[in-house]
């Protein structure tokens, strides 16, 4: 389990390569890359996404989520990288990789990690468009996705 808060842009494919090279006999590797889009939620053009984090609390929130993924699914390795700061369209915001013996666990854990990160990771996010900016919060869909795992846990 490796969790990083990145202040500068990173290369998801390169990180997937390193992650996979370090594996043992895992048969399945799933990755997710979340990229900044050029379109804001309102539909207009977006010039950048700015993610504010808070000291050690943001990283810690990511570590808790990754730890939960390891408790809930039969994954043997995971990598979570999240950008902070100003992110321009097509740059990676978040990258998650999971590995397991068989594919179901790797898929579910990556899906789960993303659902939790999108709703609970300690970031405050705003979209910059032209001169102004708009704070954004998890969508109803994000919250609904995150709720799916509650039944599972019990």
């Amino acid at each position: 389990m490796q969790v990083e808060l990145a202040q500068a842009s990173f290369d998801p494919a390169l990180r997937l390569s390193d992650f996979t090279a370090a594996l043992g006999d895992e048969g399945a590797v799933v990755s997710f890359t979340g990229r900044a889009r050029g379109q804001s939620r309102g539909g207009g053009p977006m010039s950048a996404l700015v993610l504010e984090s808070y000291r050690g609390v943001t990283l810690q929130s990511m570590q808790v989520i990754a730890g939960d993924a390891h408790s809930m699914f039969a994954i043997t390795a995971s990598l979570v990288i999240h950008r902070a700061g100003r992110i321009v369209p097509s740059e990676a915001i978040v990258f998650v990789a999971t590995a397991s013996r068989h594919r179901r666990a790797a898929f579910e854990a990556a899906d789960y990690l993303m659902d939790r990160l999108k709703t609970e990771a300690v970031f405050w996010k705003r979209e910059e468009h032209g001169g102004s900016s708009t704070w954004i919060e998890p969508t109803a869909k994000d919250r609904e996705d995150a709720m799916r795992w509650h039944e599972r846990k019990e």
Partner: protein, 86 residues
């Protein structure tokens, strides 16, 4: 009562009205989070609206705490609006 200065960091949209850090005078033996929020609202009317409208969580020394937790001089204190997620 002896008083001390405390800098409170405001995260996310809470910083929109008065910037990312506000100075507050607190009793030297500290005060609960609820009292700190009330004191902040009195001292900075511009943030009182945001503080009242959305659910705020306090963070003391990098730990998110309950409303009953006590803030003491020297603590690293921040106020979190609801997180955006990643």
């Amino acid at each position: 009562m002896i008083h001390a200065q405390l800098d409170v960091e405001l995260c996310g949209r809470l910083a929109d009205s008065c910037g990312p850090s506000l100075r507050l005078t607190i009793p030297e033996n500290g005060l609960p989070v609820t009292a700190m929020l009330a004191s902040l609202a009195r001292a900075y009317p511009a943030v009182s609206d945001a503080l009242g409208r959305i659910r705020i969580r306090a963070c003391i020394n990098e730990t998110i705490v309950s409303e009953e937790a006590v803030v003491r001089p020297g603590d690293t204190v921040a106020l979190f609006p609801p997180v955006s997620g990643g």
